[in-house]
Amino acid sequence: MIENIVHTTLFYLFAAFAVLCALAMVSTHRILRAALYLMGVLGASAAFYVLLGAEFLAGVQILVYVGGIVILLVFAVMLTSSNNLIEEKPSLLRKLVALILSASFFGISSGIFLGATFNVSSRLSGASSEKIQDTTAAIGRALLDQGEKGYVLPFEIISLLLLSALIGGIVIARKTQPEGGK
């Protein structure tokens, strides 16, 4: 029982933290602080993953997302900001439209989610033998398995994607040299 209480408390704590960080991220006018708040949301998501039993994903989230992508975004901010890293305020109309759109999305979707019935696996509470215990090993096996349950094809495709993003990024961001070499 105490396990459940801790679980639920942690869920609400981290959820509140994530939502507050997200709100701060979209409302701050200092773009570097927004990156910091984004880090908070992503870190809280890592905690969610632990609560959901995906420990490996939590590690990946911290390492790649928080440690890599956000740092990259910070670099992008530094390299593209001229006026003191402060963003000008959006127009009121834009804010209003955005508010209406996002609030209505939240209203509609959460209404649907709360009313929907999912065929939640009954195995969840009872016999835990069906549940995969060692998710890290299972993910590792799945990524390189060529069979029915394997993901070797998307794994290879994503390596091509990362390679082409790398090449493209270098080509685009490279300093223009005078028309030489011809």
Binding site: V41, V60, F75, T80, F106, S110, I132, G168
Partner: protein, 113 residues
């Protein structure tokens, strides 16, 4: 009062609680995407959207089909795709900044028909 709280907390959050959380994060990301003027800020909001998508995959993996690992694998791919998107986006923004000295999306109107 205390008993109510305990009985409330004893019931672990189920799938719809998680979904509402992810849709709240998604909506906030959507708001940021529509109001931000700095292109890097917009990219950050997109990260929020992708992150809530990944969260969905993991929570469905946990609640709907705990017997396999598909959702978690998808989330790994989503993280990798987000990285690729940020790399490309950053390169484009930096190159654009060298030309225009701004990445404010409301000033992107040099082309008009």
């Amino acid at each position: 009062m205390g008993e109510n709280l305990v009985s409330f907390l004893e019931k672990t959050p189920d799938v719809s609680h998680w979904l509402v959380l992810s849709s709240l994060l998604f909506s906030i990301g959507l708001y940021g995407l529509l109001t931000r003027r700095n292109a890097v800020g917009i990219l950050m909001s997109v990260e929020l959207l992708l992150n809530s998508g990944a969260l969905n995959f993991i929570l469905f993996n946990r609640f709907i089909s705990p017997g396999n690992i598909d959702g978690q694998v998808m989330s790994i791919f989503v993280i990798a795709i987000a990285a690729a998107e940020v790399v490309v986006g950053m390169a484009i923004f930096v190159a654009l900044f060298q030309q225009r000295k701004t990445v404010d999306v409301t000033q992107m109107n040099m082309m008009k028909g």
